[in-house]
């Protein structure tokens, strides 16, 4: 059983401020080598959870176990802090050279100078900022500063790495290249990591598991596919990126499929549901196909609706198309398709999607 001891376990963690509960986590277990993303909107409690787990700000209540040992006294909290590293949204570099910044955690541990030099240069090269080692930290760009901050964290070879939205204030190109590098380093070092973000794509990319946080509580935790494709409720669904979330009433049902009436339109979905039950349908925009001909060909898409394009938003590699077909519907199309179909706002198009592409969320019984 020794091997299965989780590297970190939190039990009954509770944080309150001014009577309001900021955090209430009955249980959270992180296995060695795992990358767990905490995803949730701003103010959901991601930062508070990270700070409680790291014991940087002591939670009001609760127990933290690091490798099975409880962190409680000041001494054990200090020993625990020496084994972890944390990177914040702001780089929080010291007013000195990049080299000295990256060396700071090692100097605090009184490592020998020659050793420090080796470790620091290694980390700087790993993050691609070796040439900046003698520069003042004040003069770095946002991306470079965050790289220095990550190098400083990796330099102490932490057993647990806590990242608090480290890319949130970076411009898209530096963010992209930094995520790439971080992903590579994390795979190499297999550092156990807890990564807070409000960007589902970042989470999807880096994590082995995703925990969705809402108002201080973990509402869903599981593998990225599980969370993305089977959101437990509307909040998770809308947050992890199922752009179309609609409510409807079940009007017919038989043999594993049922029909939901949504403002006059009928949508067919797969699953079991009671007649007259109110259900929530989640449709991922990448599963919606657009066409401009009333084609007679039979397709496997059970649902097809004519609608008017309300809005087209470019999202880089693809375009987000918002439709009105009695209910709102969002589709992603490539730039090429947008041109080929000459889609413009106000144009009538046919949107189709398979019954199996719909994720149905049934109301929990009260």
């Amino acid at each position: 059983m020794v091997d299965s001891t989780p590297i970190l376990e939190g039990r009954n963690i509770e944080v309150k401020r001014g009577g309001a509960t900021l955090l209430n986590i009955p249980s959270l277990i992180i296995q060695k080598g795992e990358i767990l993303s905490l995803i949730g909107p701003n103010g959901a409690g991601k930062t508070t959870l990270l700070q409680s787990l790291s014991y940087l700000s002591k939670p009001l209540q609760g127990e933290i176990f690091f490798k099975g040992e409880r962190v409680n006294s000041n001494h054990s909290a200090f020993e625990y802090r020496r084994k972890l590293a944390m990177v914040f949204q702001e780089p929080l570099l010291f007013d000195t050279t990049v080299f000295n910044n990256v060396a700071s955690g090692l100097k605090i541990r009184r490592m020998r100078r020659s050793e420090i030099h080796r470790v620091v240069m290694e980390q700087l090269d790993r993050l691609g900022i070796g040439h900046l080692s003698q520069r003042s930290a004040k003069t770095l760009s946002g991306g470079e500063a965050q790289r220095a901050s990550l190098a400083r964290a990796f330099a102490i070879q932490p057993e647990l790495l806590l990242l608090d939205e480290p890319f949130a204030s970076l411009d898209p190109p530096s963010r992209e290249s930094l995520i790439e590098d971080l992903e590579r380093i994390l795979r190499q070092t297999r550092t156990t990591t807890i990564f807070a973000t409000h960007d589902r794509l970042e989470a999807l990319r880096l994590s082995d598991r995703i925990a969705v946080i809402k108002q201080g509580e973990i509402v869903q935790i599981g593998s990225p596919e599980e969370v993305m494709n089977h959101p437990i409720d509307e909040f998770v669904a809308s947050f992890v990126g199922v752009e179309t979330v609609i409510k409807g009433r079940v009007v017919r049902g038989s043999g594993g499929t049922f029909v939901v009436s949504v403002s006059g339109q009928e949508i067919e979905a797969v699953g079991e549901a009671h007649l007259e039950e109110i259900v929530t349908l989640c449709i991922r925009p990448e599963n919606v196909t657009l066409s401009i001909h009333a084609s007679k060909e039979a397709t496997s898409a059970r649902n097809a609706f004519w609608g008017k394009i309300a809005k087209i938003t470019p999202l880089g590699l693809y375009q987000k198309v918002q439709l009105h077909c009695g209910f709102p519907l969002v589709a992603y199309v490539t730039n090429q398709s947008l041109q080929d179909l000459s889609l413009t706002e106000g144009k009538e198009v046919k949107a189709s999607f398979k019954a199996t592409a719909i994720h149905v969320v049934r109301r929990q019984e009260k």
């Binding site: 914040f88 605090i108 003698q134 400083r152 806590l162």
Partner: protein
């Protein structure tokens, strides 16, 4: 050269003469290393330097402690310290005199009218200045910086040391302000030091005395020395403050 103050009123030529004479005299006193002036200058440096040093020890340690701790009534304490930054030297002189008076609570030390008493008074003046600037300097550092330092594995003492290093620019300003406050102060020094020749006479008290006697040339000379002194001390501190700021 003696002047009657009433002769000077409305007599601009004489005033100009006076200033020129003062500057000449000042240079003369300086280049000849006039022993009297040297002694006064040295004592000024000694008293104000020691007072600044002591006030740094007290002001920085208490200032950092208050900045880093949370307690009810913190705002009141901070506002008291900020008020203390404008403490009138005469008031400090008055209270230090009362305390050190033969029958006062600290009278048994028998140190009234000594340089030690002057150091005490000047320390009382400089400490709130240093403390107030330290407090502001530490508080203006980002809140998360403390967490970051702790997350790097620092002990509490290491954290405080790193924070002080991060605030080194405003802290050097605190040194300058503290020293500037006491080297130029006259009220307290004259009250608790007594301006005793060759013993407790410093640049400011001597300037006051020479002016009141009508020895404007010596007074101007002392004033210029005081200014030069303040300038060089601050020049050195500024050099430290602004040096090796890497690109």
């Amino acid at each position: 050269m003696k002047f009657d103050i009433f002769e000077l009123v409305g007599n601009q030529e004489k005033v100009m003469d006076l200033i020129l004479e003062g500057i000449k005299k000042a240079f003369y006193l300086l280049i000849t290393f006039d022993p009297e002036v040297m002694k006064i200058t040295l004592l000024s440096l000694q008293v104000s330097g020691t007072a600044t040093f002591v006030s740094l020890l007290i002001g920085i340690s208490i200032g950092v402690t208050i900045a880093l701790s949370k307690f009810p009534g913190k705002r009141i304490v901070v506002s008291l310290i900020n008020t203390g930054m404008a403490l009138p030297p005469v008031v400090v002189g008055l209270f230090v005199t009362i305390f050190l008076w033969r029958n006062g609570p600290l009278g048994f030390f028998g140190i009234l009218y000594t340089p030690t008493a002057m150091i005490m008074a000047q320390t009382v003046i400089a400490t709130p200045i240093v403390m107030g600037i330290t407090l502001a300097a530490i508080q203006q550092l980002p809140q998360k910086l403390r967490l970051q330092i702790l997350a790097l594995g620092a002990t509490r003492l290491q954290m405080v040391w790193i924070l002080i290093k991060e605030a080194k620019l405003p802290l050097l300003a605190a040194v300058m302000a503290g020293f500037g406050g006491v080297i130029s102060e006259v009220g307290a020094s004259i009250m608790v030091g007594g301006n005793i020749k060759g013993y407790s006479r410093v640049l400011t008290t001597a300037t006051v005395m020479e002016t009141s006697r009508g020895n404007f040339d010596i007074a101007i000379a002392l004033g210029i020395i005081l200014l030069l002194l303040a300038y060089f001390i601050n020049l050195i501190l500024t050099q430290i403050q602004q040096r090796e700021r890497p690109r």
